[in-house]
């Protein structure tokens, strides 16, 4: 994966990130506590380390932002840190070392005896490289997450819009039939219901979910239109268990299910039929069921509506929902189980 090099570390944070190495240097110098002179060397190295990591950190971050590869970075940072360490050695030799040490230390000591200094600077560079890389990865992960979220939103919205137009045109068609039939009362009634339904869908919440109460109101507005069409043949029973009205459900969860129940369970029959809508739950899961009287429905006949509900549930609650469709004690029933979420924020907004 290509990491985004615009991510960087603030100088102060880089400096703080270098402190653990200072801790290591301190621990390594414990055996030197007995010798005052060696202790002075160690302290000098520690201060020099804290000083050098400021320009060193800046240089590394500059290389990182410029997109330098790992080898290029090593090629620049190794000589630079080496030069810094040699500088340290020269300074230490000039200001801290005793006469005897100065006499003993030759070129080899200056260019080779870089214990406790060069390694620490290299370790700092390694440390900073890891931090920068991790920050870039985290940002990338966040972006991927947002992209997935946006794709899911778009999919859900598309699925939602799939539902309404065909229903709208069916209703307009029914109204025009009523006008032809010279039934002005029924026509105006259906137009008023359609107005209510559109108003209800237009006040939609920004998210993909709303409360059971909202879903029931929305479904009822839809069913009013079907009732205007089917009259006394359509009975609706809506049951909610105590406390379920505030639970969250996907927007327009019921409408396609209820529409199927009307199309296949009520409309083809001549006798009145009942559609029973139930919401039950126990604080862990919410159980939704839509049942109608006819049993001779095939799942294939449920078509687009059911596929739409399945797709939306899969997008909203992957691996966390159940949907069972089929005949059950003489009725055709769709049962859905969802995670129980109570919409406190929604009701607060309403208050």
């Amino acid at each position: 994966m290509r990491v985004d090099r615009s991510v960087t570390l603030s100088p102060a944070m880089a400096w703080v990130a270098g402190l653990p190495i200072l801790g290591c240097m301190m621990v390594m110098s414990l055996p030197a506590l007995a010798d005052e002179r060696v202790l002075a060397f160690r302290l000098f190295y520690a201060v020099a380390y804290l000083f050098w990591i400021v320009p060193l950190g800046w240089l590394q971050r500059w290389l990182w932002r410029r997109g330098a590869g790992w080898w290029a970075m090593a090629g620049v940072l190794l000589p630079v840190t080496y030069a810094m360490s040699v500088g340290n050695a020269l300074l230490a030799l000039t200001f801290i070392a005793s006469e005897k040490m100065r006499a003993q230390a030759g070129v080899a000591w200056i260019f080779g005896g870089l214990d406790g200094c060069w390694l620490a600077l290299i370790a700092f560079c390694g440390f900073q490289a890891i931090v920068l890389h991790r920050a870039a990865l985290a940002l990338e992960g966040e972006r991927l997450h947002q992209a997935a979220q946006a794709a899911r939103d778009a999919e859900l919205r598309a699925l939602r819009y799939q539902l309404q137009p065909h229903f709208l045109f069916n209703t307009l068609n029914a109204i025009s039939a009523l006008v032809h039939d010279d039934r002005p009362r029924d026509a105006t009634r259906m137009i008023a219901r359609l107005g209510d339904f559109l108003r209800t869908t237009l006040e939609e919440t920004p998210g993909h979910e709303h409360t059971v109460a909202d879903e029931i109101a929305l479904t009822a507005a839809y069913l009013d239109i079907e009732k205007a069409r089917l009259g006394e043949r359509l009975h609706i029973e809506t049951y909610t268990a105590p406390g379920t009205l505030e639970a969250r459900v996907p927007y327009l969860l019921l409408q396609p299910l209820v529409e199927n129940a009307v199309r296949h369970g009520i409309a083809p029959r001549t006798v009145p039929g009942t559609i029973a809508i139930r919401f039950e739950g126990d604080g862990h899961e919410l159980r939704v069921s839509v049942a109608n009287d006819a049993t001779d429905v095939t799942e294939g006949a449920m078509g687009v509506g059911l596929a739409n509900v399945r797709a939306r549930l899969e997008a909203l609650y992957p691996d966390n929902h159940h949907i069972v469709v089929g005949p059950e004690s003489g009725r055709w029933r769709v049962r859905i189980t969802l995670p129980w979420v109570v919409a406190t924020t929604l009701t607060e907004a309403a208050a």
């Binding site: 009362r185 105006t188 009634r189 137009i191 008023a192 219901r193 359609l194 107005g195 209510d196 108003r199 006040e203 919440t205 409360t211 109460a213 909202d214 029931i216 109101a217 009822a220 009013d224 009732k227 205007a228 009259g231 006394e232 009975h235 029973e237 809506t238 049951y239 909610t240 268990a241 105590p242 009205l245 505030e246 919401f279 929604l346 009701t347 907004a349 309403a350 208050a351």
Partner: protein, 236 residues
Amino acid sequence: MIRVAVVDDEPLARSGVLARLRVEPDVTVVGECSDGHGLAALRRDRVDVAIVDVQMPGLNGLDGLAAIPRDERPLAVLLTAHDSFAIRAFELEAVDYLLKPIDDERFAEALERVRRKLGHEVRPVPAERFAIRIGARLSFVEVNAVTWIEADGDYAALHADGQRHLLRESLQELSRKLDPARFLRVHRSAIVRVDQIAEMLPRPNRDAVLRLRDGTTLRASRTYIDALMAALNRVA
């Protein structure tokens, strides 16, 4: 007679209102205007109630009403496509506000509210039982057994003892026959017995959803909420 003025900028919309008023025997139309300025000229001594479209070019319905001095202002029934005027409608003491497209039953209900306001209403003694005709047989349902009543086309369905009884009557006619302290209209399509309400959940748009003691769940629309709240507080 109730003297009505119809105010709407669209001639077709005006004629829709006029057609609905024509079937009311106790209503006479005394004026028609097409803008807020005509409305602002109306006075209570000539017009009992103005049926006013809110959205009109120039002076809108609300501003037109506000331009009439308060104690000379006729009663007002507002018509609107959007329902975001409830608060101003309340300030102007509108009797009711109706959403377009107009629903016949809601329109009749608004006129009923006007009659009540004007003191023209005749309230019969509350009924004790309903006679249900099934073929040639008559069966009786005690009012006390009814938990809620649902509109069903031109019928009303009484829910009593787990059964559903059809009555050929509109909810509006029924609600006049019932004791207003016990039975309340909560929606264009439902009347409930107040003591059956177990839960009420307000919705973001000021409507509400009601849960009855048997779990039946119904909508309550905002136009009935005030009366409903008053009744529920009485129960407490």
